[in-house]
Each structure stands twice: as C-alpha cells, then as structure tokens.
C-alpha cells in the first residue's frame, strides 16, 4: 500500500471507515483504495450507503447534523478527518457533481467563475481563461460561448449538468465525486456525460455513484458493490476491476444483484 502512494497509484483511500447518523450505523468498515486517473463506480440497491460513502470522501456528509465518522480517509497520506484538516480545503481539492443539476441562479460565466472567485481570483482575463478552459473540458463551450451572460438555469438539463461539471473543474480538483450525475437526464444527455467522463479520466480521478448497472459497466474501470447487512448498515461486498465484477463476480450476492435477481 505504501508503494501505492510512492508511485502515485492511488488517489484516495478509506481505512476501517464507519459512519454514523446519530446512533445509527450507516456504513460499516469500508476499506477501499481508489486508483488514480481511473473511474470507480459504486453500485448497490437504494439506501445501501453508496452516496454516504461518496460524500464522506470530501466531508460533504458533515453538512448533515449528527454525522460521525470512525476510521480514516487518506488523501496524499493525510487523514482528511484529522482535526487539523480544513473541510473547505478538502472540498476545493475533491470536487463534487450532484444528482440533480444545481447551477447557481447566475450567468453561465459567473457559475464557472464562482470557484476561482471565492479563492480570491479577481483578474478578469484570468477568469475568462479559466471559464473557457473549464467549459471546453466539460464539452459545453461550443454550445454556450456566444452567450455566457445567459442564466445557467436557462440551459437544458444535460447542459446544466455539464455546466456543473465545468464549475467543479474550474477550481482544478484532483478527484471528482459524481453522485448519480445522469439520473435526472435523458439517454442522449447521459451518453454525452459518459463520453465526457472518459475524456476527463486522463486528468482526474473520478468516483461515480450510479443506479444504472449498464452505466457502471460502460464507463467505469473499477466497480464496488455495496449492500445492507442485517443491521441495515452499508457494507462493501466486493470491489474489483469492472469486467471482473460483471463477468466473474466472487460473491454470490454480487452475482444475484448484477444478474437482476434482486435490487
């Protein structure tokens, strides 16, 4: 594992991660290493803790009052839950894209420029450059370049989601967490986002939660399957290369789930 960090193989890792909502154990003992510049998909039935696990990777779960973490999330060898670590910095380096497109009620330009601006970047020319680069990366530039002053809410659902991705890219994170990013989109828009994820892979590490097993199979390099245990706590059942999970799963429960026997 240590060699994993020295050659930069892993972007982020959880160790004996337990997560509680109040007294309720929501995630039990998850140990996972996410490979750098790869797409890792988290799959499993509703309520099994996929999103919770995803959010614990950049401390977004803390926004829910009463959340408590046991264990470690290591990022560059540093435990993200160490009291000395500022969650604001964590979220700037580990970005997030949400289930429903949630652009700010501002112009397209201001949406993308928001991240750099709160980091103190005021220079118009620099901001313009960042906005263009991010929108190009998110494959949205050609569609909106003539009308950057238009409200982000005036875009279609798929465009809004790519705007949210551009917004996340603008602060140059190392990891992008995507929480069912296509569940509110139509199949065409979904395909565009999936293409985009493959393109982004070369520069970013991507972790995606999805309900759609075809999507996980199409887009991801690694897949983790999670399930509720008898106490309704989420557990990691199996984690391996995607083609292995879908073709030769080791665990019977994984096989049952991906063959559609339940879920």
């Amino acid at each position: 594992m240590t060699e994993g960090y020295t050659n930069g193989r892993f972007a982020i890792e959880t160790r004996t991660l337990h997560l509680y909502y109040g007294d309720f154990l929501a995630i039990r003992n998850v140990n996972m290493r996410f490979e750098r510049n790869q797409i890792t998909a988290l799959i499993g039935p509703s309520g099994c803790g996929k999103s919770t696990l995803l959010r614990s990777l950049n401390r977004m779960n803390e926004l829910v009052p009463g959340t408590r973490i046991d264990g470690e999330v290591l990022f560059h060898g540093q435990n993200l839950y160490d009291p000395a670590v500022d969650p604001v910095e964590v979220r700037r380096r580990i970005g997030m894209v949400f289930q429903r497109p949630n652009p700010f009620p501002k112009s397209i330009f201001d949406n993308v420029a928001y991240g750099p601006r709160i980091l103190g970047q005021r220079n118009k020319a620099v901001l313009e450059e960042i906005v263009e680069r991010s929108l190009r990366q998110a494959a949205l530039w050609d569609e909106v370049k003539d009308d950057l002053k238009k409200s982000g809410l005036a875009l279609s659902g798929g465009q809004q989601q790519r705007l949210c991705i551009a917004r996340a890219l603008a602060v140059e994170p190392e990891i992008i967490l995507m929480d069912e990013p296509c569940s509110a989109l139509d199949p065409i828009a979904t395909l565009r986002i999936e293409d985009l994820m493959r393109e982004l892979k070369s520069d970013y590490t991507i972790v995606i939660v999805t309900h759609n097993m075809q999507q996980a199979a199409r887009v991801s390099d690694f897949t983790a399957f999670m399930l509720l245990d008898e106490h309704r706590a989420g557990e990691l059942i199996e984690y391996d290369r995607t083609e292995k999970i879908f073709n030769r799963p080791q665990d019977q429960r994984t096989e049952d789930y991906i063959t559609g026997r339940f879920g």
Partner: protein, 555 residues
C-alpha cells in the same frame, strides 16, 4: 321576540340550513334521490325548524332568550339528523362503490357541495372588498368637498387712505399692498409680522426684541437709515409696514395681506357626496347662517397641507409637515435597526444555531413575541429607551441638548423592537425555502459557510425577506399606541430635526384630530389618513421594486 334574539336565531338558523344543504345532497344521492332536491330540503328544514323551535321556546318560556337561541339551533340540527335517517331509501341493491346512475348522482352531489362552498367563499371576498371600498369612500369623501369660507375683512372692504381699494389683490402694486397693510392692521400685529415673517425669531424672544433699536432687531435685514436708532416698538403703522415692504417681495406681501388681513376661514364644510348631490340645500344653509360666506371647493390634501406647520386651533390652516417628517425619521430609524438585526438573527437561527433545547425555546419565544400587543412594546420602550437609556436616546452622551429621552430615536427603536419578531420569522421562512442543493453546490466548490450564506442563501432569500419587511413596515408606520407611551407629541411648533428631537407622527396627529371638537379637524384627519396611506404605498412600492429586481436577477 327581541330583535337581537331574532338576529341570533336567524344566524344559527342559516348555519343549520347550510349544514343541512351540504349534508343532505350526499344523503339524497346515496338513497337514490335527486341531490339538488335533497340540498333544498335540508336547507329549508334546518332554517324552518330552528326558527319554529326558537319561537316555541320563547312563547312558552317568556324571557328565556338564551334558551330559545340554543334550543332553536339544537332543534334545527336534530331535525336534520332525523331527516337524514328518515329519508326513504329507494336504492334496492346497495353496492360497495357506486356505479351507473348511482355514480352520476354521487358526482352531482359532490359537485353541488363544491359549488355552494365556492359561492360562500366568493361572498367572503366580496364582503371584504365592499368593506374596503366603504372605508376608502368614507376617507376620500371627507378630503374633498364644498366649504363655506368667510372673510374677516371682505376683499372689497380693504381701504387705502380711507378709500376702498375695489380691485383684486393680484392687481395691486407693492406700494399699494404696503398701504393696505398700514391702513388695515394694528401696529402690534404688523410688528408680529416683522418678527415672524422677516427675522423669523422664536416667539419667546419677541418681548425682549420689541424694546430694542431697529438696527439691533433687523441687524441681518434691511431698514431705512433714519430709523436705525428708534426703538422697534415706537414705530408707527406706516413705518412698520415699510419695513415689511423693504424686506419681503411682492408675492409675500400679497400672501400676508390675504392670510392676515382678509383672513379666510372655513366656517362649514360638506363631504364629497353631499357636495355633489345637495348643492341647493347647501346654498340655502349658507345663505341663512353665513350670509357673507362664499361657497368654494376645497381639497383638504394639498401642497399647503403637506408643507405647513401644525395649527392646533384652525383646521383649515393646519398642515402636517412636522408629523410627516417625524414619521419618516422614525421609520428610517426603525428600518435601519430592525432590518439588519432581524435578518442577522434569522441567519443565525437558520444557518448557524444547532437544534438544541435552548434554540427551540428562543424560536418559540420569537413566535410569541410577534403576537404581543403593541402597547406592551410601548411600555418596554418607555422603560428601556426613554428612561434607562435616556443619556443616549436624549443625545446628551453625544452633546445634543434634548431634555429627555422622548425622542425620534426612542420611538424608532421601540417600533423596531415591535417589528423585529415579524422580520425574523419572515426572514427565517425565506431562508428555509432556499433549496439545499444550492448550499451543497457552494460547499462542494470549497466555499466557506459565510461565503455560501452571503453569495447564495441571502440573494435567493432576499425577495421573501423583503416581502416580510414590507409587511412589518406597514405595521410599524400605522402604530399609535407605542408612540403615545414613549411620549410622542400631538402638537409641535417645530419640525423634528434629527434623531434627538422630540417628535410627533402621522397616526398621533390623526388620533389627536379625530378627538378635537371642531368639525373641520375631521376633514384634516381624513386628509392625514390619505397622506399616511400614500406614504405607506410609496414605501411598499420601493420595497416591491427592490424585490422584483432581486427576483429577476435570480431567474
């Protein structure tokens, strides 16, 4: 039967009738009858039985009014219950769920209930609109109308050198106006005009000034050199009028002659409707009671009314400038204090405060405070701002020289306390309505909590916050009781000049004027209400424009 008892019985009878109509539609439909007929039968039964039973009780037991009312209602409702049960069931085969003709009857019955209720709701709104229209009419009708105006000196009776002038004032030259003043007013009044209109000295200084030489009294104004050393109170009429002419322009002189010599006075007034419809009667009354008076149209709301000082004796001369300025100053302080503090408290409670017992208690108390009668806030303001914090509210701590704490500042703070709970609750509602996804998007980019609040939560909540603020200000601007308690005056000789001035306000003036014996003050009060409403609408439209600007920026 007493009239009041009859009204009570009738009201309850109509209630029973409504109940009968609504319930009998369904019963009739279920038992295979026409729902409309059922409704009619129920409505009639409810009303008739209530009335008959009440009549029976009062006839058998004279004097038992309450028993008759209660008994009547009980009988009406009882009759309906019996009717529902006794109605013959024509449906032979009862199905669990209606279909066919039964279903059609069922739907017709439910529709009928909806129609009846919709009509009732429409009546409610119609009633509200009618009441509002009556209110507006009673106010407006008093602000415009005919008045009988009588002159102390008829314009044609003005004399110069013993000769009648016989020309309209507009055509007189400055010299002629000066002569009119000299010949038609006593010297003491002319002196007052000089002190009041030329050097604008406060009334208290008049006795001392009068004995001093002209060069001292008019040291900042013009005077003929030969009069420099004469004592001011030894000048005769012509000399004093000369001083007036020297220092005032022609129009001011004409105004002086009109207001002070001719002195028009409203001796009687009529509301708008009477003025329009009963002109002949008005003419007759005036001809009989005030043979010298002229009948003229008068709008009690006028520029003079807005810009003149208060006059406690003559309604037709009074203005409300001190009250208007007082209200504006007080409301400015109220907004300046209550808006930031209220929104700040709401932000704290919604965004920062945890869900613990203490915060729940605070929350409950804020909700309760919103319902506390305003006079209680007046007592609070009196105790805290007027008494305890007197050094600050009177301005002594800042070098101002008000004698006590009954100032604009105390009033503004008191009203601010009054509307603070309203602003907090409304701002909380608005902040709570901000979608969580917006906050998450912001946090997800690495924004701090304050950046998230300032950049996203507040702008998004601002239209709602402003709506709440509009309501709160509308409440504050009309409050009278707290202002009376913190010592608002009902008469002021001067305008309030700043936060440390003693003050009056529009509602106080309206309250005062409606209690004065002279009829014409009722017109002035109506005019002041119109001004208050106009001010309210102006402030509200500013807030609405701001709100729309925020909303537009968001969409």
């Amino acid at each position: 039967m007493d009239r009041i008892v009859f009204v009570a019985v009738l009201t309850l009878g109509l209630l029973a009738s409504l109940n009968g109509g609504l319930s009998m539609t369904q019963t009739a439909a279920r038992k295979g009858h026409n729902p409309k007929l059922g409704a009619l039968l129920g409505a009639v039964t409810g009303l008739v039985f209530t009335l008959l039973a009440a009549l029976a009780v009062i006839t058998l037991l004279p004097g038992q009014a309450i028993l008759s009312v209660i008994g009547g209602f009980a009988a009406g409702m009882g009759a309906l219950a019996l009717l529902r049960r006794a109605l013959p069931d024509r449906v032979t085969e009862q199905e669990a769920l209606p279909s066919g003709a039964a279903l059609q009857r069922n739907i017709a019955a439910r529709r009928l209930q909806g129609t009846v209720l919709r009509a009732l709701f429409f009546l409610s709104i119609a009633l509200a609109i009618v009441m509002l229209a009556i209110l507006m009419w009673t106010i407006v009708t008093k602000t415009i109308g005919l008045t009988a105006v009588q002159y102390t000196v008829q314009p044609e009776d003005l004399v110069v050198n013993g000769e009648p002038v016989n020309r309209p004032l507009d055509e007189l030259s400055e010299a002629e106006l000066q002569a009119v003043l000299a010949d038609n007013a006593r010297v003491a009044r002319l002196r007052v005009f000089v002190l009041q209109n030329v050097i604008e000295a406060p009334e208290a200084d008049w006795p001392t000034l009068s004995g001093q030489p002209v060069s001292r009294v008019l040291k900042n104004n013009e005077y003929p050199a030969e009069l420099a050393d004469a004592a001011f109170n030894t000048l005769d009429e012509a000399q004093t009028a000369g001083l007036l002419a020297l220092n005032l322009d022609r129009d001011s002189l004409q105004e002086l002659v009109f207001d002070e010599i001719i002195q028009p006075q409203v001796v009687d007034s009529w509301p708008l409707w009477t003025s329009l419809t009963q002109r002949d009667e008005i003419n007759a009354v005036v001809a009989e009671e005030y043979p010298e008076a002229e009948i003229v149209w008068r709008s009690w709301v006028s520029w003079d009314f807005l810009s003149s000082p208060l006059d406690p004796r003559k309604a037709d001369d009074t203005g409300l400038r001190p009250a208007l300025i007082g209200t504006l100053l007080v409301i400015a302080i109220t907004i300046a204090f209550a808006f930031p503090v209220g929104v700040g408290a709401a932000i704290y409670l919604e965004e920062y405060a945890g869900k613990n017992r203490l915060n729940q208690i605070i929350q409950t108390n804020i909700s309760n405070l919103a319902g506390v009668p305003s006079i209680i806030y007046g007592i609070l303001g009196l105790a805290i701002f007027v008494r305890s914090l007197e050094t600050f509210t009177s301005g002594q701590a800042f070098g101002a020289s008000t004698a006590n704490g009954r100032t604009v500042l105390s009033a503004g703070f008191t009203l601010a306390l009054l509307i603070l709970p309203l602003i907090i609750i409304n701002a909380q509602e608005a902040i709570r309505a901000v979608p969580n996804s917006l906050r998450q998007a912001s946090y997800g980019l690495g924004a701090t909590q304050w950046q998230t609040i300032w950049h996203h939560v507040l702008p998004y909540a601002m239209p709602g916050i402003l709506t709440g603020t509009i309501l709160a200000i509308s409440r504050a601007i009309g409050e009278t009781a707290p202002l009376i308690l913190v010592g608002g005056a009902t008469y002021l000789t001067q305008d309030p000049k700043g936060p440390f001035s003693i003050f009056t306000a529009l509602p106080l003036i309206i309250y005062r004027w409606t209690t004065l014996p002279q009829d014409e003050f009722r017109n002035a009060a109506a005019a002041a209400i119109v001004v208050l409403l106009a001010l309210l609408l102006t402030l509200n439209s500013i807030a609405i424009i701001l709100r729309n600007r925020f909303s537009r920026r968001l969409s």
